[in-house]
């Protein structure tokens, strides 16, 4: 594996990025790596933009990363992925949930929500490795919108095994599932398991 692998998670308050980054950092720990996670609480919970950072490696120092240092951008929302594109390193991997949450500045302020083509065009300058995942749709099919975050984690786990840009970063699906199961109420374990598997299938 690379010395350190950096994830940047971004989305909108309430989308489940907190659980996702908690899972991610603990997967790193469970795999015997040094792992750190950082996020900001407070104002950003009121429907604002949120980001969190997760880093795994043999030796991890800084809790956050800067511009051009993310190996993986895991975006829960399509406007937020553009807002945070500067974090992705050249040839990094972007995993983008196919979901738009329209902010008030668009509804009542007359600003324009970016089209999918704009997103693709912006990423073309950084990396060919862009994957859209229908996290929202898959979660809806599973009967619970809240598991979209676990669908995305499933997709991420599979991509870590396959993307040449991330070579050597894979951890077994069982490691992931164990960490997820420790973090969800017993009656939702089966649902989350399915969400994770569907996420893996979505990037096959």
């Amino acid at each position: 594996m690379k010395n350190v692998i950096n994830f940047l998670l971004c989305g909108v308050g309430g989308q489940g990025t907190v659980l996702a980054s908690d899972v991610l950092v603990n997967v790193g720990l469970a795999a015997g790596l040094e792992a750190k996670q950082a996020e900001v609480h407070g104002m950003s919970q009121r429907g604002g933009s949120v980001i969190s950072y997760v880093r795994w490696g043999r030796e991890v120092h800084a809790p956050i990363i800067g511009q051009g240092e993310a190996d993986i951008l895991l975006a829960f929302e399509k406007l937020e992925v553009l807002r945070n594109i500067r974090f992705l390193r050249a040839d990094g991997v972007a995993v983008i949930n196919n979901q738009a949450i329209v902010p008030l500045t668009v509804t009542t302020g007359g600003q324009k929500y970016p089209a999918d083509e704009e997103i693709r065009a912006a990423f073309a300058a950084v990396t060919p490795n862009v994957r859209f995942v229908d996290g929202e749709r898959i979660a809806e099919e599973l009967g619970n919108l809240r598991v979209a975050n676990v669908v995305l984690l499933g997709a991420l786990s599979a991509l870590l095994e396959r993307e040449p840009a991330l070579e050597g970063s894979a951890l077994s699906a069982e490691t992931w599932l164990k960490v997820i199961e420790e973090r969800v109420p017993a009656k939702y374990v089966e649902l989350n398991r399915r969400a994770f598997e569907e996420g893996r299938r979505a990037v096959e």
Binding site: V25, K36, G42, R46, G66, Q67, R89, A90, T107
Partner: protein, 603 residues
């Protein structure tokens, strides 16, 4: 092997408090410090509380430390401004058992009104300042702070920053230190504990000598260490900046200051003499840098690294490239493409927030509104746009009073939340009543401390430890402050709020409107959530309901035939059924809920 667990810095401080045998802790919530007490409260056999404000919290901790129990007070950086008076006397008196004050600073102001660097308070108050650089140290330094406090008879400032408080890393857990259970007799030692001038004048040299002794000790303390690597570059650093030093300059020698005040002069001289180029890497103020320069040692700090905002590895790397410390090639992997201006996504009042109607009405009345700090500060965001000043907690009422006394021709309004009112609003309101300005104060009582994540307060009937408490009722309290015009209304009743405010702005005397309704995210509110719907056939796209700024109201794809404007559409997954939009829709296009809160209007 000891058990290792992923902990945030705040969780680690709480763990450290428990392991250090802390028995009393008091705090007022404030990002990024809040989770320290929330987590400490979960340990068995301890006492923890939400105080009404930070000054009270420090005084409570001081009392416990005088009484011989290890005690801690926690707050965000600006909380220490409120508590500064108490820090100063606690430094003068010293303590009977360990006393630690946690200041959680917020470089980059993720959720604050300023980014002051509270290490200056340590210097100002002649107390030591410890700065952990990850969760393990957050725990270890908490324990060390208590040892230091008792060894030198001094309060200790434990200074954290957002990236320490809210980042997680692995921590080795230890056992609790069992301190003697019996309480020492409360000290009868006026020369030490009664700070009248004749006693205080004798204490001042004592604390100056104390800080000198701690500075001596700092040269040998395990909290400070030199890591020798290559000698071409030497970095003095503390707190989270240590991590950036290691990340960006892996081969440089580092002097890591776990205690950033007082500075270890001998250690610094040894380090400076051993390296060719000496730089200081610290966020915010040139605090260490100025100390080192005062020693007559040449170094560079803020001439290279930013004074404002927080660091990240890129920021440090880019600054180092500009200063010729690193080759430009280290920035190559950062394409960072330009993307056009993107729609902002500021935090907004939640769907169903009980603060919304008040701001909708204030916006209509076009009065100057002096705000305060809490969720309700978001009344500033368009389209509500109804806050015109906001500085710090408790300021709004007195700022309105000052503006009124200055002869401002408009009637001034102050808005303040329930927790903020208990924090510092009460003295300001008494001042309005006493000195008589026709200020209209609106207390937004959502029955919780919302902004910081729903903490109990004196109005909620519950304590931090989950015990029942008497509910401090606002209306009698306001009357007792000397206000005669007081009314309590439902915070969701748009018409009544408008009627009352129109009446109050005409008065020549102070008045208070209390609007009450639980925060929409509280369990009792959630139980009542029922989404409403827009009847497309009745909506003509008049856009009136967009003016309340509810995130659940969207523009539909469907245009009204006549006006060619988009109709309104309610996102059922977000709507709580607060009925604010239903009340203001002039065409009855949004039907009230079956169990309407506004039975009359619903008819």
């Amino acid at each position: 092997m000891a058990l290792k667990k992923m902990l945030s810095g705040n969780e680690a401080v709480a763990r450290g408090m428990w392991e250090a045998g802390v028995q009393v802790a008091s705090a007022y919530p404030g990002t990024p410090s809040t989770e320290i007490l929330e987590n400490f409260a979960l340990y068995p056999g301890i006492y923890a509380e939400w105080a009404t404000n930070e000054k009270v919290a420090v005084d409570v901790a001081v009392g416990a430390a005088y009484a011989g129990k290890r005690a801690l007070a926690a707050m965000k950086h600006v909380g220490l401004n409120v508590a500064a008076d108490s820090l100063m006397y606690a430094s003068m008196t010293g303590i009977e058992a360990g006393l630690v004050i946690v200041s959680a600073d917020d470089p980059a102001m993720h959720s604050s009104q300023n980014e002051q660097d509270n290490r200056t308070y340590a210097k100002f108050a002649r107390v030591p300042c410890l700065e952990p650089s990850d969760s393990q140290e957050a725990k270890d330094f908490t324990i060390a702070a208590f040892e230091l406090s008792e060894r030198f008879d001094t309060p200790v400032l434990l200074r954290l920053t957002t990236r320490i408080c809210h980042s997680m890393s692995a921590v080795e857990l230890g056992e609790r230190l069992e301190l003697p259970a019996q309480t020492k007799p409360f000290p009868r030692n006026p020369a030490k504990y009664v700070m009248v001038p004749s006693n205080a004048i004798k204490r001042h040299p004592v604390i100056e000598e104390r800080i000198r002794l701690i500075a001596e000790y700092a040269n040998e303390s395990p909290l400070n260490r030199i890591e020798w690597r290559e000698r071409t570059l030497g970095i003095i650093t503390s707190g989270v900046s240590y991590q950036y030093a290691r990340e960006v300059f892996p081969n440089a020698s580092v002097l890591k200051l776990g205690m950033s005040w007082p500075l270890p002069e001998k250690l610094i001289r040894t380090f400076a003499a051993g390296v060719e180029r000496l730089i200081i890497l610290e966020e915010l103020d040139p605090f260490i840098e100025e100390g080192v320069k005062l020693m007559g040692i040449a170094c560079e700090g803020k001439s290279i690294f930013p004074l404002v905002g927080e660091f990240d590895p890129y920021v440090v790397r880019a600054a180092a490239v500009r200063a010729g410390l690193l080759p430009a090639s280290v920035l190559e992997a950062s394409p960072a493409p330009e993307v056009g201006p993107l729609p902002a996504r500021p935090p907004v009042l939640c769907p169903g927030c009980p603060h919304r109607p008040t701001f909708y009405v204030l916006n209509k009345l076009k009065v100057p509104v002096n705000g305060d700090i809490g969720c309700y500060t978001l009344g500033l965001i368009p389209p509500l746009s109804a806050i015109h000043t906001c500085g710090c907690m408790g300021a709004g009422i007195a700022v309105a009073h000052g503006a009124a006394q200055a002869g401002s021709p408009e009637k001034h309004v102050a808005v303040i939340g329930d927790s903020t009112f208990f924090h510092t609003g009460v003295p300001a309101l008494i001042n309005v009543a006493y000195n008589r300005a026709p200020v209209v104060t609106v207390i937004l009582d959502n029955r919780i401390t919302g902004m910081t994540g729903h903490q109990q307060n004196p109005g909620t009937g519950q304590t931090l430890l989950g015990k029942d408490a008497p509910v401090i009722e606002l209306e009698p309290l306001v009357r007792a402050c000397g206000i005669q015009h007081v009314r309590t209304l439902s915070a969701l009743d748009v018409d009544e709020i408008e009627k009352t405010l129109k009446e109050y702005v005409k008065l020549d005397e102070p008045s208070v409107l209390i609007v009450q309704e639980p925060c929409a995210l509280l369990p009792e509110a959630r139980r009542r959530w029922v989404p409403l719907e827009v009847l497309a056939e009745k909506c003509n796209g008049c856009t009136l309901c967009f003016r309340i700024g509810c995130p659940a109201i969207l523009k539909s794809e469907e245009l009204d035939e006549k006006t060619q404007r988009p109709k309104a559409l309610i996102d059922a997954s977000l709507c709580t059924g607060c009925e604010v939009c239903a009340q203001i829709c002039p065409r009855d296009a949004i039907p009230f809920r079956p169990d309407s809160l506004f039975v009359e209007k619903a008819r």
